[in-house]
Symmetry: C2
Subunit: 212 residues, 2 copies
DNA sequence: CAATCCAGCGTACAGCTGTACACTTAACCG
DNA sequence: CGGTTAAGTGTACAGCTGTACGCTGGATTG
């Protein structure tokens, strides 16, 4: 059941639309401020042809978020293999994530913006992607040490939040300032992991401690 | 030099515009998706009258961010006095911040969205507000313990990031899930502070440690 | 082959936008 | 008092938006 020329052409146009949308993302042009006509223009098709591929802009946006998710998963895999080589979990994770942000600023901006955007569908989609991050890291942590699942998740959530946020801040920074940011982030992750390790080292005794 | 009726009326209209804009903010209506005519309609004035008060929507937006900043400062002060009463820094901070988010979801949404938005002026304005947060907490930490200024800032940044982010997630959560989020956030802050304390307890020896 | 399908096009329209411009009218000030 | 200032109005217009509709021409299918 090889796809005929008709289906091939359709797929090609679909990709043109997706690429046009991604290409138009930038610091001062968000997906939500992007019009259907604009995307069509960039993709080289008539505005009404857009509907042959997506119901509306929201449908296109969800596709973009999904594709970004795939790109991020690839990144995760690369990071894991790097860890196996170098051994330094924290440093490697921060470096890899920052490298992604620097290389795909617009994809990262998309996730960043739609995470708090107007469309519930978008917010959910991005939240799901980040949830994957947290869960994968939770599994990793639970496997490497003897945290309960809950403890591991709490720690993973904190780590992901800090790294993701550092990525967001890196976007507006000069390269020199980025290094300082990376160093601070690395140190914060170390605080977190070290603190968690010590607090939970004597069994669950302190797990629900109420002291400040 | 008491303001005459003319100036009073002008100020009243100005406030009407500001309130109209704030009132229109919601989960599915952001400031950037808000039109000048919409605000004018809501404020009960002609579209062109808007210009008597603000150059454009961006100018209004910056005013909103500033006002939100003032509201947040008030909150900080309240939090500090609560700490003096109750003593538990982390628990009190989380509670106070979450209370703010629950009571002013739209103001918080404004900051959250414009932080990563299209307008550089907006991004800078919000970044400045958050920077204030970080700096005030840095001073507090440096004063209460013997961190270097750098260490205190790194820790403060981590704490602020985690709390701010928890607020963002709380927006879309049911009250029951919010409690769980609060608990996790509290625990994360504890990891951070505890980890920092221990890593820096033996002087600066580990300050630049590179181990993972 | 002929019949059907369907990606892409062009036209058209209503509805929205920001804002230029000329005006009224009440407060201000010498 | 009389002249000036300025907040607010209404009209107007060009430019953008999404999308309904009918068409064309090549690929697909029986």
């Amino acid at each position: 059941m090889m796809p005929g020329p008709r289906a091939q052409q359709k797929e090609k146009t679909r990709q043109a639309i997706i690429q046009a949308a991604l290409a138009h993302l930038s610091a001062d042009h968000s997906f939500s401020s992007m019009s259907l006509r604009e995307v069509a223009r960039e993709a080289g098709i008539a505005p009404t042809s857009f509907y042959r591929h997506f119901d509306d802009m929201e449908a296109l946006g969800l596709t973009l978020v999904d594709e970004s998710g795939i790109t991020l998963r690839k990144l995760m895999r690369k990071a894991r293999s790097r860890i196996e080589l170098k051994g330094s979990v924290i440093q490697t994770s921060v470096d890899t994530f920052m490298e992604f942000v620097e290389r795909n600023p617009n994809i990262f901006r998309l996730l960043l913006r739609e995470r708090t955007g107007i469309s519930p569908a978008f917010r959910d989609a991005v939240a799901r992607e980040i949830q994957h991050f947290k869960e994968e890291l939770t599994d990793y942590l639970a496997q490497e040490s003897n945290y309960t699942k809950e403890q591991a998740f709490t720690l993973a959530e904190g780590l992901v939040t800090l790294v993701f946020n550092a990525g967001a801040e890196a976007l507006d920074l000069a390269p020199s300032e980025r290094e300082a940011l990376k160093d601070r982030t690395t140190m914060q992750l170390r605080y977190l992991t070290f603190g968690a390790k010590l607090i939970h080292s004597d069994g669950q005794k302190n797990a629900n401690a109420k002291a400040s």
